[in-house]
């Protein structure tokens, strides 16, 4: 609860910081504020509580995921300073929007009531629409924002419709009550229909196939730092929320639902991977790779009772690798018209550290040991095998092999081609963000216990 209040307060402060002429200090202040909030959040880890008639429920699940979101936001805000250098007058708006987005994200994982869940998802989505269109003089960015807004609001509508049907079936918005009622006999047919609609809306938000068509265009068109935000933070939020929704509302997924999840999971990872193989634009490639990762994360829904820790671990590993990768991508393509792979040629010679970091984050996404991506995939596979879905795991393995094809395309370009131009100076903040993100990634890869067991009772 305190987390949500303080985050909103920080957001408001960032908006009015202009008045006090604090623009230069804005980013350090925001980061220090977020660090303080992070400490506050973690301190609530062992103190479950609920507020406002169960509107907000604070438990280990919400605290762990909120902490992850805060960490990711800190990274993203740290990168913003240099990214928006030419738009100093807008800086406070952008930072404030990101912090409000974080508030929405926290609301989404700590809701106890579907109304709160919907408010959270709207706060998050509207912030994203704005950020996607934030390069207002560029037609690509406008297109991305418009596309995302139209399709996203459609998905929100579907979710809202689902919530209404569930209310009609049970008479409650409170998910504890819904959970109780869903076990009993004679639940009206509106209930599964409503649940399906909510799941469809969420699948849209995490860009799972066949609801993924918006993602590549929006990712490519949006400013790089927004793409970083969408592919790490926003995806992780939506995935955690979907998990919490299903786990919170039904005791066990009916078999038919499970089969659908299997199909969507395998489809998502395959479509994402196969499309990624054909991309030359790095942002588009990572968009498709993100789609395939969403497919992997969906596997967590197949072992609903035990996979919370695994999901937390997977999302952490994926998001940290994503942040590190995007820090390098933003740096390399800073003064370029596009984000084609050609821009990365010879990075191994011109900027060995950044090349090494990008390599490490790609290896992590590909699931090579010692990076946390490996353990993430591994514990997901173990969970899924325990639930009896061996063939989904085999599909996952085949997809991991395919994914090497495009991750390594980028690595090869960095190490074997010659650079077209001489290197320019790198602002310190990129090194800082990328190095810390990748060190965290490797650290939790070597000591997976720290995260993996957080949520197991």
């Amino acid at each position: 609860m305190n987390t949500l209040l303080t985050i909103s307060g920080l957001g408001v402060f960032c908006l009015i910081a202009e008045i006090f002429n604090l623009r230069k200090l804005l980013i350090p202040v925001a980061i220090i504020g977020l660090l303080a909030i992070l400490g506050l959040t973690i301190s609530e880890f062992n103190i479950p509580s609920s507020h406002y008639n169960n509107m907000i429920v604070v438990n280990r699940f919400s605290v762990s995921f909120s902490s992850l979101f805060i960490v990711l936001t800190i990274f993203l805000i740290a990168l913003s300073g240099d990214f928006y250098k030419e738009h100093q007058s807008k800086l406070s708006d952008y930072v404030a929007i990101k912090i409000f987005l974080l508030a929405g994200a926290v609301a989404m994982v700590s809701f106890g009531n579907l109304a709160m869940f919907f408010i959270g998802i709207e706060v998050l989505s509207i912030s994203l629409y704005i950020l996607a269109a934030s390069k207002r003089l560029e037609v690509n960015s406008n297109e991305a924002g418009m596309k995302y807004f139209l399709l996203g609001s459609f998905a929100s509508g579907i979710i809202l419709f689902g919530i209404c049907l569930i209310y009609g079936a049970t008479g409650y918005f409170n998910i504890d009550e819904i959970f109780q009622l869903s076990q009993g006999a004679g639940i009206p047919v509106w209930f599964p229909i409503g649940l399906t609609l909510i799941i469809i809306g969420m699948l849209f938000k995490i860009a799972a196939a066949p609801f993924h068509f918006w993602a590549p265009d929006v990712y490519e068109g949006a400013p790089s730092i927004t793409t970083a935000l969408m592919s790490t933070l926003a995806k992780v939020v939506a995935m955690a929320t979907l998990y919490k929704l299903i786990q919170g509302m039904v005791p066990a997924i009916p078999t038919i639902f499970e089969n659908i999840i299997v199909v969507i999971s395998v489809l998502t990872m395959s479509v994402g991977n196969l499309m990624a193989l054909r991309q030359n634009n790095v942002k588009r490639m990572l968009a498709f790779s993100g789609i395939s990762h969403a497919g992997f994360m969906l596997m967590a829904l197949l072992s609903l009772s035990s996979a919370a820790g695994t999901l937390l671990y997977y999302t952490t590993a994926y998001a940290l690798a994503g942040i590190a990768a995007f820090a390098v991508i933003i740096l390399v393509t800073k003064n370029k018209d596009n984000e084609d792979i050609i821009n990365f040629n010879g990075l191994g010679k011109t900027n060995p550290l950044m090349a090494a970091i990008l390599t490490a984050s790609l290896l992590s996404m590909a699931g090579i040991p010692i990076f946390s991506g490996f353990f993430a995939k591994f514990s997901l596979f173990t969970n899924t095998i325990e639930s009896g879905y061996l063939f989904v795991v085999i599909a996952g393995v085949i997809n991991s092999i395919v994914s090497i094809g495009y991750y390594f395309k980028l690595i090869i370009a960095m190490y074997t081609k010659d650079a077209a131009e001489t290197p320019s100076a790198t602002p310190f903040v990129y090194y800082f963000t990328a190095v810390i993100a990748i060190i965290l990634n490797i650290a939790i890869g070597v000591f997976p216990n720290t995260i993996l067991n957080l949520l197991s009772a």
Partner: protein, 480 residues
């Protein structure tokens, strides 16, 4: 003192090498690889005095994964092979400048670290992690420092990476499945599992895919010749001298004891495939015009015979395979090094352009000849010991296997001596060939003296590996 100190010394060595700068890198790498060699001798000494040098620590509580290193005679022999060959391989590059040396030697040591870990690990997941870790450095070594056209090399090396990763990911699935059965990844727990025949078959196949690609056994060999040819010689030595032994070691350590019934059921197919590799490799070696490719195919033939020995499921076959693994590790490093010596002078591996080296470099000729005859398994060399034991074990299975497998000796002698004739004898090439340098001589002499010594007196190695191999053998044959 336990075996983890070996891993530590190699890992620290890799890091220190990276920070020592390009000029010092090769010397620092040699120093650390020698230190790890000394440490492994020390560990061997304390092991043979009856001390327990294994290590088991809990690493991750859920899923239950331990940091377990098992040191028995068998794994120690393989570790020694790694720690002897690593300084030799590093030393063999002395006198030749390497671009970006600090990264190169750091990768070499890191790879040595990962391979040592693979030989020692006694926990399925830890083993898998080391197994995969060894792949990353060799990928970069072959990609960045390789020779030949960059576009083609890129394709070949990527193919190699995807191939091996694909195989090992199925092994990972097998481990995950085993974990759900045993609730543990520890080797001894996996040995105790009672698996149905069907389960064993699938697990056996998943392991087989990983190992058959790594070794390689046909039909999974298509990456091999290209990568051996295009990798820098040090990379080729690491690949053929040590890395492929990871696959052979794992057959004996993991695959056969965990799924023995499946191994028994498919014995004729497995031995048949391995023998097919022997014949196929030998025939292809006959036709090669590139020295490195010829050696690559000869290696394919030899490891085919080793794999056949493992899959006979006889104690002799396994013993012979272990001897042959060590002998092959040395001899193939020697052969590739000889090829490298020629390349340093003539800048070519094409056999057609070589010839008449003998009259200009008699010392090199004699040394090369000894390595060549060792590789064809002449009595008195260590290769003879292993090869003969494996052939003997094949004769216990089926006489046809031994007849076909014996072809490796005949064909091997034919193509190796023909190669020697074309490269070293005949008319003098117009370019002059300078005699081997002191570094080169030392390297070759060390390899040769090892092969001759254990060829005449293989007892120390037999004594070392005998108890642990017997133990594994009894696990394979215990009723499951």
């Amino acid at each position: 003192m336990d075996v983890s100190i070996l891993l530590l010394s190699l890992l620290i060595g890799a890091i220190v090498t990276y920070f020592s700068g390009d000029k010092l890198a090769s010397k620092v790498a040699l120093l650390f690889s020698l230190v790890s060699f000394m440490l492994s001798l020390n560990i061997l000494y304390s092991y043979s005095n009856g001390n327990d040098v294994s290590l088991v620590r809990e690493w991750i509580s859920l899923p239950k994964i331990s940091f377990a290193l098992l040191a028995d005679g068998f794994s120690l022999v393989m570790v020694l092979l790694t720690t002897i060959l690593t300084p030799l391989i590093v030393f063999s590059s002395f006198g030749k400048s390497v671009e970006n040396a600090k990264k190169f030697y750091a990768l070499v040591l890191f790879m040595s670290f990962a391979m040592t870990g693979t030989f020692l690990a006694a926990d399925g997941l830890l083993y898998y992690i080391f197994w995969e870790l060894a792949l990353i450095p060799i990928y970069f070594i072959a990609l960045v420092w390789g020779n030949g056209d960059i576009e083609e090399r890129k394709k070949d090396v990527l193919k190699f990476f995807i191939y091996t990763l694909a195989g090992s990911l199925f092994m990972l699935v097998a481990f995950a499945y085993l974990y759900t059965k045993a609730e543990s990844f520890l080797l001894q727990d996996l040995y105790k599992l009672n698996l149905s025949f069907q389960e064993q078959t699938w697990i056996f196949l998943a392991f087989f895919l990983a190992y058959a690609i790594k070794i390689p056994i046909i039909p999974f060999h298509s990456w091999q010749a290209n990568v051996y040819q295009k990798a820098p010689t040090i990379g080729t030595m690491l690949l053929s001298g040590i890395m492929l032994k990871m696959g052979l070691y794992s057959i004996i350590r993991w695959q056969l004891p965990i799924a023995p019934q499946a191994a028994k059921e498919y014995l004729p197919i497995l031995v048949g495939l391995s023998i097919a590799g022997v014949i196929y490799g030998s025939i292809l070696a006959l036709r090669q015009k590139d020295l490195k490719r010829l050696l690559a195919y000869s290696s394919l033939a030899h490891v085919g015979l080793i794999a056949a020995g493992c899959y006979t499921l006889t104690i002799d076959g396994i013993h012979g395979a272990v001897h042959q693994m060590i002998a092959h590790g040395f001899v193939i490093v020697g052969l590739f090094f000889a090829a490298e010596i020629i390349y340093r002078r003539y800048n070519t591996y094409a056999i057609g352009e070589l010839g008449g080296i003998r009259s200009q470099a008699p010392k090199f000729t004699s040394l090369f000849l000894i390595v060549v005859v060792a590789s064809v398994g002449l009595p008195g060399t260590y290769n003879f010991v292993g090869e003969f034991t494996v052939l003997y074990s094949l004769s216990q299975i089926n006489i046809w296997f031994v007849i076909l497998g014996g072809l490796t000796i005949i064909l091997g002698a034919y193509y190796m001596l023909k190669m020697f004739q074309n490269v070293m004898l005949g008319e003098t090439n117009s370019n002059s060939f300078s005699e081997v340098t002191i570094y080169e001589t030392i390297t070759l002499v060390l390899i040769i003296s090892f092969l001759l010594f254990f060829g005449l007196y293989p007892k120390p190695i037999t004594d070392l590996v005998h108890p642990s191999l017997n133990e594994i053998f009894s696990t394979i044959n215990s009723l499951k």
